[in-house]
Structure formats: C-alpha cells, structure tokens
C-alpha cells in the first residue's frame, strides 16, 4: 500500500461518486457540479499515469470549456418541470445485476493479468513526446481532426442559428 495506490483509490472513488451523484441529484446545477467532480478526479488519475499533458487538457477542456457549455445549456432552457422519477424496481434490479456481472467479469479478467514491464520515462518532457508523436507520426489523423472540428463548428452554427436570419 503505497501513496500512489491510496491516491488512486481516492480519485477513482470520487470519480465514481460524481457519476452516481449526477444520476441521482434532482437539480440540474448540482448535476453539473458532480460532473465537474468526475472530470477533476479523472485529471488526477491521468497525473498518476504520468500523462501530465492529458491531465491539463482534461482540466482545460472538460472542467473548463465543456462545463461552460453545459452551464449555458442550463441557462437557455426552462426548468420549471421537475424530474419526475418513476421508480421501477425490476429495472433497477436488472441494471444492478448487469453492473455486478460486468464488474466481476472484468475483475476476473484482469485479476491475474501480467502486462510485463511498464513503459518508463513517460513523464519526462511529456508534452514534447506527445508533440513529436502527433506531428511526426499521426499527421494524417491530426489534419483530419481539423476537418472534424470544422464540421462540428459548422454544424453547431447551422443547428443553433435561428431560422430566418440570412447571411447579409
């Protein structure tokens, strides 16, 4: 039981807690905050895995930008209607069984899994390593990502723009 393991336990616990709270809380803003809890905990797990850059991106994009989008979404919509929950015992039980089965399957699969020696030196110049991989090796997917972002931007504009506003 070393510090890394304790940190992992705490972080994964808060990540799962955020997810469960998100599903069970009644008010939208509270749901939003619990999602942020999950995002931040995930960033912590990335740090543990020596993925410093990804951790910072996680904070920047998810805890920052995506949360803002969600907050805007809440501000734009009405919330007079409350979340009427029809509790279905059978469905809850089935979902519970499903989760348990999945947990034990995966646990059984990884219980005595041996990966061999892990990669070393991932944390050294982490951002630079990523940059070299992206811009020397994954050039084609990277340029394709720009098209993906462009399509997302156009789609957002086309779908969210009010009808009847022409480009003049």
């Amino acid at each position: 039981m070393n510090g890394e393991f304790i940190a992992f336990l705490i972080l994964s616990f808060t990540a799962i807690l955020g997810g469960i709270l998100m599903l069970n809380l009644k008010k939208v803003v509270h749901m939003l905050l619990s999602v942020v809890l999950t995002f931040v905990s995930l960033a912590g797990i990335y740090v543990l895995l020596s993925a410093e850059f990804v951790a910072v991106v996680q904070i920047l994009i998810y805890s920052g930008a995506v949360t803002i989008i969600l907050a805007f979404g809440i501000m734009l919509t009405k919330h007079t209607a409350r979340d009427e929950r029809t509790s279905n015992r059978l469905r809850a039980a089935l979902v519970g069984v499903g989760v348990l089965v999945f947990f034990f399957t995966v646990y059984g699969a990884i219980d005595n899994l041996f990966f061999g020696p892990g990669a070393e030196g991932l944390h050294v110049e982490n951002t630079q390593q990523i940059g070299e991989r992206i811009f020397a090796h994954y050039v084609i997917p990277f340029e394709l990502v720009s098209i993906v972002l462009l399509v997302a931007l156009m789609g957002a504009i086309v779908l969210a723009r009010k009808e009847g506003e022409e480009n003049k």
Partner: protein, 488 residues
C-alpha cells in the same frame, strides 16, 4: 524524421481523398462568397469532384500495397474495392439531391453538400485506416457529419427527434468502441493494426479474457453503426426524420463504412489471435456474432411487416439486410470478403434506387405513407416498373443483383467450415417473410386504383439516378461475373 522522409511517401495514392477534401472546401468557400447565380451549380461541382475521385481511384487499380506514415494511411485491395462502393453510392446520392424539384424547407442547401463530402471523406479514411487512431477519427468525421445532416430540417419535429436520438445513440456507441479499443491497446501496446495482430498472434496467456472483453465491447459499439438488433432502435426514427437523400446516405454509405471498419479490425486483429492454443480468437467468438446476425434478420424483417411509413419500412428492411451481410462475416471461407463486397454494392444500387422512387413520389404527394404507391401503375407505368425492379432485387428475385448477393451468401454459409445451417435457414425463411411486405407495395402499385387524379411524371434530372440504379441492379444481376472478376 525530416522533410525527405516525409516527401518519400507516395502521397499521390491519396489523390481521391485530396480531391474530396479540396472540392469540399471549395464548395464551402463558393457557398459563402459566391454569387447567388453560381450557387445553383454547386451540386454539379460536388458531382464532378466525386467523379474525379472515382477516376483517380480507378487509376490505382492493381497498384501494390503501400502505407504512409507508419500505417496511418494504407492502400491495399481491400481499401480500393470498398472505397469504390462508398464513392459510387455518394455519387448516386448527390444526383438524387440535384434532382429535387420541390423547394423543401431546408434552407442550408450548401451545407448539405459539404457535409456529405466530409462524411464521405471520413468513410474513405475508415476504408484506408491501418491504425486505430485513423480509423477512429475517420469514423467520428462520418458520424458527426451524419448527425448534423439528420438535424438540418430544423422546422420538422421528427427531424430534431431523429437527430437527438442519433446523436445520443451514436455517442454511446463511440464510447463503447473507444473503450474496447483501449483494452486492445492496453493488451498489445500499439495502435497499429499490423503490430496488434503480431502481438496477438503469439500466446495471449493471461490476456485472453481481456482480449475477449475488448472484442465484445468494440463489436457492440460498431454494431450501432450497422444497426444490428438490439442496437437498432435509432434507425427507423432517424431515417424517418432525415431528408430522403440523407436517409439513403445513412442506409448505404454509413452502413458500408460500419462493415468496412468491422472487417478491418476484427479480421485484421482477432483473425490472427490464437486462443486456447488452437483456434483463432475470432473463430471462438463467431457464435456471438451469429446470435446478433440471427436476431437482426429475424426482428428486422418481422417488424418491417407492420410499417406503413415507407422510410420506416426501408429502415427495417435495411436492418434485415445488415443481418444478411453479417453471415459471410461469420462463415469464414475464402470468398467471404467477396460476398460482403458484392452484397454491399448490390445493396447500394437497389436501396438508393428505392429511396429515389420514394423521394420522387414524396415530393409530388407530400406524404411518406405507403398509399403514395396506390395505383402508381396507372399514373406512371415507368416509375412503377422501376420500383418493381428495386423491390424484386431487395426481395432477392432471380435476375437481379439482390438475388446473386443472397445466393452467394447462402452458398458461402453452407460451404463454410463449420457450416452455418441455422443462419442460412433463417436467411431463407426471412427472405420469404420479406416477400410479404415488398409484394404488398407491388399490390398497391398494380391492383389498387389511384386515389388522386393527375399523372406522375419523372423529370429529366430525376431519371439520371434512376437509370443508373436500374442499370446497376439489373447489370449485377445478369452479369455478376463482371463485378466478381473485377474483384479478383
């Protein structure tokens, strides 16, 4: 790496992709800055672009395998043949878009074109991806463009509903796919398909269960894309909500891309992975896919019996067809790939043709109900006969492309080792079931009297995609060996 190594790759092999990319960007620029008089000819530019891409691709026929930048882009015969299907189908769909006579409520017509091309680019990258990352980015480009195209008919509630369902289902599917990929990556330490296959061909040892979990999760994620039961719920709503050409696109191009990525990943990676010392991992997981194929054929065709909305009917029929195409994936014979390819090609022609007829009638009668076909033979004999050809092909009547496709798959399933008698039998029975709903449309066309006065005319532009689809359906049905020889 320096600039010399970068230039040493055969970038010319990416000419079809570059053409689509450049034409797409050009279209968006012209749409933004061009005069209104030019905008009418934008669809023709898109058609020209896809045509040029097809020509570039055909020049690559018989070219040896190449890979660019560590397999992030590969060209092999597999990529060539399946990219051809994607390009031909998109060309037909663009012709369908052009043929529109009635001004619909979709204002952003330019967006359609470049979103279609962006989606096509994504599909082509999927066909040419030799690395999980390129495959994933290509698939995402295809999916994102599709979500937006479904939602473009903003004033229609059904369109918004369809887009919402598609987006949520698609996001879950993406999450599944990525999660499964992460298992495979964790097990092998590489995203390159070749490296993964090599790592897995050795003894997996204690990694076997993890490989199986990765397999199942990834397959479930990709099964959404080809809408197999039980991951098909979104399909009818989305097809109904989208504009008809987009429905045709989802039904043909998007589904083909799904099959392409499934074949690429599952045969490529797991087809070599040894399991339990003797069999390949894919061979041990065949039963899992076989159950999906069985359910898909069964439920798709049975639910189609109850549909009255033509687009929903074709949606369920396309689910049934997805089940048929899963059979050669399961029955491993040397001709399996050829059967999948031929069926997808035949499916492209007949489905786009059927959607085209619906599109023509839908514009004239402002309805999608099956009653648009009532008495069609008296109103327009030509259109009725054309629709009959497509229906016959979808049902699998001899003399059409659909028959040859189904026959090949059936023979392949029986000849495989182990023979898939149950699947072959289900396919035969479900084909008969499908006769009921296809022939119901024919009954409407020939026996019933028209409810509305007036004749249905086919405009000149509308005849172009119709003729091409009829030619494809009949041509592949009568001379299938032309396509099959081309494949070898």
């Amino acid at each position: 790496m320096d600039i010399q190594t970068l230039l040493s790759f055969e970038w010319g092999m990416m000419a079809p992709e570059f053409t689509i990319l450049i034409v797409g960007i050009l279209l968006s620029l012209l749409d933004l800055f061009g005069k209104d008089t030019w905008k009418k000819s934008l669809p023709w530019l898109a058609v020209g672009g896809v045509g040029v891409a097809i020509i570039f691709l055909l020049f690559q026929y018989g070219h040896g395998d190449i890979s660019i930048l560590g397999n992030t882009y590969v060209f092999d015969s597999f990529a060539f043949y399946f990219k051809l299907i994607l390009l031909i189908a998109t060309l037909l769909i663009l012709l369908m878009v052009i043929s529109r006579t009635v001004q619909q409520e979709v204002r952003d017509r330019g967006e359609y074109l470049y979103l279609l091309l962006a989606a096509l680019l994504g599909g082509m990258m999927v066909a040419s991806g030799g690395d999980l990352i390129s495959l994933f980015v290509g698939l995402e480009l295809l999916s994102l463009s599709s979500y937006i195209m479904v939602g473009l008919r903003k004033r229609d509630v059904r369109s918004s509903e369809g887009a919402m369902k598609y987006l949520i289902n698609g996001s879950i599917a993406t999450a599944f796919t990525l999660f499964g990929m992460s298992y495979v990556f964790g097990l092998t330490g590489s995203t390159k398909l070749v490296d993964i296959a090599r790592e897995m061909s050795g003894s997996l040892g204690s990694g076997e269960p993890v490989a199986i979990i990765g397999f199942i999760i990834m397959f479930v994620g990709l099964a959404f894309k080809i809408s197999t039961v039980p991951f098909h719920m979104w399909t009818p709503d989305v097809y109904e909500g989208a504009v008809t050409p987009v429905s045709a696109f989802l039904s043909v191009v998007s589904k083909s891309a799904g099959f392409i990525i499934i074949v690429r990943i599952f045969w490529g990676i797991f087809g070599n992975a040894t399991f339990g010392g003797s069999d390949t991992l894919f061979a041990t997981m065949i039963d899992f896919i076989a159950v999906l194929a069985f359910l898909t054929m069964f439920i798709g065709n049975l639910v189609a019996l109850r549909q009255r909305n033509m687009k929903r009917l074709l949606a369920y029929s396309s689910i049934g067809h997805a089940g048929y195409i899963l059979i050669p994936l399961v029955s491993l014979t040397p001709v399996s790939l050829e059967n999948i390819w031929f069926y997808l090609l035949a499916y492209a022609f007949m489905t786009i043709g059927a959607f085209m007829v619906i599109y023509i009638l839908e514009q004239q009668k402002q309805s999608e109900d099956i009653s648009i076909f009532t008495g069609l033979y008296r109103e327009s004999p030509a259109l009725a006969i054309i629709m009959t050809i497509f229906l016959a092909s979808l049902a699998g009547i001899p003399g059409t492309a659909g028959f040859i496709g189904k026959f090949n798959i059936f023979v392949g399933a029986v000849a495989a080792d182990p023979a898939q008698y149950i699947l072959a039998g289900t396919m035969a029975v479900m084909t008969v079931v499908s006769y009921i709903y296809y022939f119901n449309i024919m009954v409407q066309m020939y026996i019933r009297k028209p409810q509305l006065e007036g004749t249905t005319k086919i405009a000149r532009l509308q005849s172009v995609p119709l003729i091409l689809c009829v030619a494809g359906t009949i041509g592949l049905g009568v001379f299938p060996f032309i396509a099959l020889n081309f494949f070898h």
